[in-house]
Symmetry: C2
């Protein structure tokens, strides 16, 4: 079997953890498997490098930022190869130049185009554990690129796809994907299986277990993922296309506090006004989520939408600046809100979920301010202070104890 194993920054933060990861990889190697390991930069290295860069030049070119950040993963992989060497196992570290990992040209947010497998296969054939730098690639100019935060997950999936790996294991500090955040919902259960689409909805909604782009890529290339803990031997959660029939109606409940509501009041009720508002947001790279448009009355209408809390200040500034152009009478905002969502592939064929969710929320006195839905998801915007109560109520409603 060829296994790709990915470990994040906290799993290689110090010598002890590096040794621990080395041992886990060697276990599989000693069973006769081919093992490819993808690593992030150690602990807070990437943040530290970004601080150094910002101190020298707050507007540094992204090309140079990527050149700088790429040293983080190179340090991890070299040390890991040494750690495995100290345990008597032959291992070799490879960076993006050596693999080669071809990406698009865009710095700090590149996407994989192609991964050469010759060097890795050659090293595996000589029975070495191959340790690859996550998060980075090379563009057509032979310059280093990075994939953006969480990019090491994507590296692991891309490598698993290119190498036709039999397994792709994403190691993290939790034991798998849960039906809700166990810190909020004590009886939340670890899922044995979840579909790509459900995982995508959960990832988008703030369950920070897997990077979204990596799930999309896994779905596209049919790479079966396992999310498991680097600290325990627990089995983890399998992410794949179709899960067993005994699946639950709802696979999980996710909460997202990084949300704020903006209301644009008193817009002229004429065609194209909504377009102007959202075009402004897009032009300033502000992502808009749940949208609610009031029915026109007295020749005016209101538009409410949510943005990430971190984008609220920018969004308000842009709207105020263009108040006349979009014919707004005034702009209101509220950052004391949050989203709670239920996600489940089974929802597609069951119409009772929305009403069940609303009933559960009503029973615990939670007011719903906005609603948005997809085929496999229902999201409600509520007051931030109600989030934990709402999450527990919805979880109790749908997930059998």
């Amino acid at each position: 079997m060829l296994i790709v194993k990915k470990f994040g920054g906290s799993s290689v933060a110090d010598k002890e953890r590096i040794m621990n990861v080395a041992r886990r990889c060697i276990e599989d190697y000693n069973k006769g498997h081919d093992v490819v390991v993808v690593l992030s930069a150690m602990g807070k290295t990437t943040d530290r490098l970004l601080e150094m860069a910002a101190d020298i030049n707050p507007d540094a070119k992204k090309r140079e930022i990527d050149m700088l950040l790429a040293t983080g993963e190179q340090t991890s992989v070299a040390l890991m190869a040494m750690a495995m060497g100290s345990m008597g196992v032959s291992a070799i570290s490879l960076n993006a130049f050596q693999v080669v990992m071809h990406t698009t040209s865009e710095y700090s947010n590149a996407k994989f185009k192609r991964i050469d497998t010759e060097r890795i296969r050659h090293e595996l054939d000589s029975r070495k554990i191959v340790i690859v730098t996550g998060f980075q690639g090379i563009n057509k100019y032979d310059d280093l690129t990075t994939l953006g935060r969480g990019g090491s997950d994507t590296t692991a999936v891309a490598l698993a796809a290119a190498l036709h790996a039999d397994a792709c294991e994403i190691y993290t500090d939790v034991e798998g994907v849960y039906t809700a955040d166990p810190r909020v919902v004590p009886n939340a259960k670890k899922m044995k299986e979840i579909t790509y689409d459900e995982m995508l909805e959960l990832a988008t909604l703030g369950a920070k277990v897997l990077h979204n782009r990596s799930v999309e890529m896994a779905k596209k290339y049919g790479v079966q993922l396992v999310v498991r803990s680097s600290l325990t031997e627990a089995e983890g959660t399998v992410v794949k296309e179709v899960v067993k029939m005994e699946q639950m109606l709802i696979s999980g409940v996710a909460a997202d506090r990084n949300t704020a509501r903006i209301a644009v009041i008193g817009l002229k009720d004429e065609p194209g006004i909504a377009f102007k508002v959202f075009n402004l947001m897009a032009a300033h790279k502000i992502s808009v989520d749940v949208i609610l448009q009031s029915i026109g009355r007295d020749g005016t209408k209101d538009i409410s939408f949510t943005v990430a809390k971190t984008d609220m200040k920018d969004a308000l500034a842009v709207l105020e600046e263009n108040k006349d152009r979009i014919t707004a009478q005034r702009i209101e905002s509220d950052d004391k809100v949050a989203k709670v969502s239920v996600v489940g592939a089974g929802m597609q064929t069951n119409t009772g979920v929305a009403s069940g969710m609303f009933e559960a929320l009503y029973n615990v006195g939670v007011n719903i301010r906005m609603i948005s839905t997809s085929d496999i998801r229902i999201t409600v915007l509520i007051d931030e202070e109600d989030v934990d109560k709402a999450t527990r109520a919805v979880h109790d409603k749908f997930i059998p104890d």
Copy 2:
């Protein structure tokens, strides 16, 4: 003009020094010159990385050590490009993969084979300052290699040769090459010029201004070097093939405390015994310097030689282990010794230097234990406690005030 400028680790140790180096390079750039900058790793980075490696695996493969160390220079060059960017100058950092700098395969002690100039020329043609990682290269397996300590000097010279640069400036924390260590000899003078051969003798003898291999390469390719300070505007010392006629008989006096004397006593006085002793040292990669062999008497003879102080323990262990094979009666050692040397190309045609040196040492009561000479150098082994006194006396004798 195309200028290659090399700055060592202490010149880029923190933000302020990085900014200072950026400004100096931009001065030349603004005069219309093409500027290529070679950097070492920041401050004590290389030592820190080596400690991390040793902590994880004291016997780590050199291939992985080089992979780890190479991150140090990559960090420097990326930050320097950002620093220049903050001053409004277009700069680009390049690592060994991007240049490409081809070396021999030997890890941690590689030698340059060939440097591709296409990428650098392309960037210079678009009026960018090009910042290159010192100390590192790529071997035929596409693996990172390092050149050994001081290797960034060699990178600068190799680049200057490959690019046919008009100047190669080595920046350091002293103002040039001095006739003696100014901390020991207060009236030591900065030399305006010195030949490659004199510089080589001085470098070998512990004047740590330039890395030896870089001087050899500069001589081989006729690259004229300038050694100057990164902190002042002083003119520095030019290192070249032939210096002006008004050169002094003696160009400098060097002291080297990293030396120890070993005496192998009571060897059988028969052919091949000396060979056996030095063959043992060579097999254990211990460099032997000054050698003194006694005249045979009663069928035995003694051999004394010096090694680096840091090699003494190993040398003694090897000799004790092979005591019978080399027919030695006993091994003695003394690490309270040091070397003082006078170096000067003018010495080749003047026979009075040796006697002048011995006279000067006699006058201050310094006992000479061993002597070795080359065409342009006389070295004496003396007691370590006499080093400063001896250096001053010899300097006073030969260097006019």
